[in-house]
Symmetry: C2
Subunit: 258 residues, 2 copies
């Protein structure tokens, strides 16, 4: 964090100066202002005067937050072109993007507070136990799926980069395994069913196994009616195995599979 700028009740001239400079230098800006908002694009919206918190990020993202709710009331994703102007005694901030063509206009009649600064943040964001992580562990220990389960050498591309496993059960029956790291719902069942339904036209005994930490009642019923099996997945056990990856084969899997 170097050279933060903080100004309370700045004039429009001062505000415009701070904003223009910060925007051109891709510096983070927080603004608290009495403003009105116009958005036109895929949808359109309008909001009249009120005090809101506005963030302008270094990548062009724009966020307008009201006093409640966790989502921004209006926004522009990264890459927006941000311009600032003084018009009729009001400070206007516009954020435009093409494809889709969308414009966001913030008209301020009073700047309560403005701050701009650089954020030093190089940390990685680690989502723990992703579906891909579970996949890696199961690939290493197929018996976690089912005793004597053998994984097919050729992993079918089941669409959309999904981390699913195909193989053969102890009776040699071809089996498709779908992994979820969150409770399975009827979509999970339907998805697995889509995968195996055409396989079943030629060999009806193809098994579909859904592995998830949990399943809701309707999904369970749907699975039963579609002859899809559900087994609960012990995420803690998987996490324990995964956490020992330092000296283990998970690293090799990382290299070879991803």
């Amino acid at each position: 964090m170097n050279s933060p700028i903080i100004a309370s009740n700045p004039s429009f001239i001062e505000s415009k100066d701070i904003l223009s400079r910060a925007i051109s230098k891709h510096i983070f800006i927080i603004l608290v202002a009495d403003c009105k908002i116009d958005y036109v694009g895929r949808s359109s919206s309008k909001m009249s005067w009120g005090e809101r918190v506005i963030m302008l990020k270094s990548d062009g993202a724009v966020l307008i937050h009201r006093k409640t709710n966790y989502k921004a009331v209006n926004w522009q994703p990264p890459g927006a072109n941000i311009t600032v102007s003084l018009e009729r005694g009001e400070l206007n901030i516009r954020a435009d993007r093409r494809r889709p063509r969308e414009t966001l206009s913030i008209t301020c009649r009073k700047i309560i507070f403005i701050s701009s600064f650089l954020l030093k943040d190089e940390a990685s964001f680690d989502m723990l136990l992703s579906e891909a992580d579970i996949y890696k562990v199961l690939m290493l220990y197929p018996s976690l799926i089912e005793p004597e389960f053998r994984i097919s050498k050729q992993q079918k591309e089941l669409g959309g980069g999904k981390a699913d496993i195909t193989g053969f059960d102890k009776n040699g029956q071809y089996t498709v395994v779908e992994i979820k790291r969150i409770p399975a719902d009827s979509n999970s069942v339907k998805q697995l069913y889509r995968y195996i339904s055409n396989l079943r036209t030629t060999s009806p005994q193809v098994r579909g196994i859904l592995l998830a930490p949990n399943i809701n009642a309707s999904a369970k019923n749907l699975a039963r009616s579609l002859s899809i099996e559900y087994y609960s997945l012990d995420l803690k056990k998987i996490a324990d195995i995964y956490s020992k990856k330092n000296s283990s084969d998970v690293e090799r899997l990382d290299k070879h599979l991803f």
Copy 2:
């Protein structure tokens, strides 16, 4: 905006004081801090030290923003229980919620900036031309759907409170109309197909009409193969009609249909 509090480089003691007071009084807080984040819940994530912007809102919503991207990297929706504590020389902010059980922990080793204030904002947020708005206009002027189209007195509950219209075309053929205010995709087609597919088992000539400002190529193909018709919807025309609602029947529709 009354009595805003702004502090640069506050001590932990001072910060905790400001935070505790603001949280108990449900006052908006913006915090810029060098912090690390732990989230455990439906998923889990971890992020080590870095400078981020944190918002604590009056309704219990918590947002952690990094220097880029328009979405918060971690968050807690409204209703979270927020607690602040000093532990081992670090300031910890926890936001917990039940159902689903989720905890978000923000550990700060340096507070760069803290500000708390009330936001005066009573404005309404107006989303213009919703699907329901289009529905109202088409209910008033069925010929916009198709010349001589007659709307069925009994609107079928087609599921999920959908703003869809059923009626009869100029040949007396039963027709289901699905309205989209954004470009139609294959989901739109599939949805309409689900509605009419069982109707078609008894009367195969039932028509399905998809009305949208636009349609993508794959959806168009899917529609053709499922014998669903697509017609483009002139949103501008609809908006023009809708905007004249003051003295018109749209108001009556508002009262009677919603």
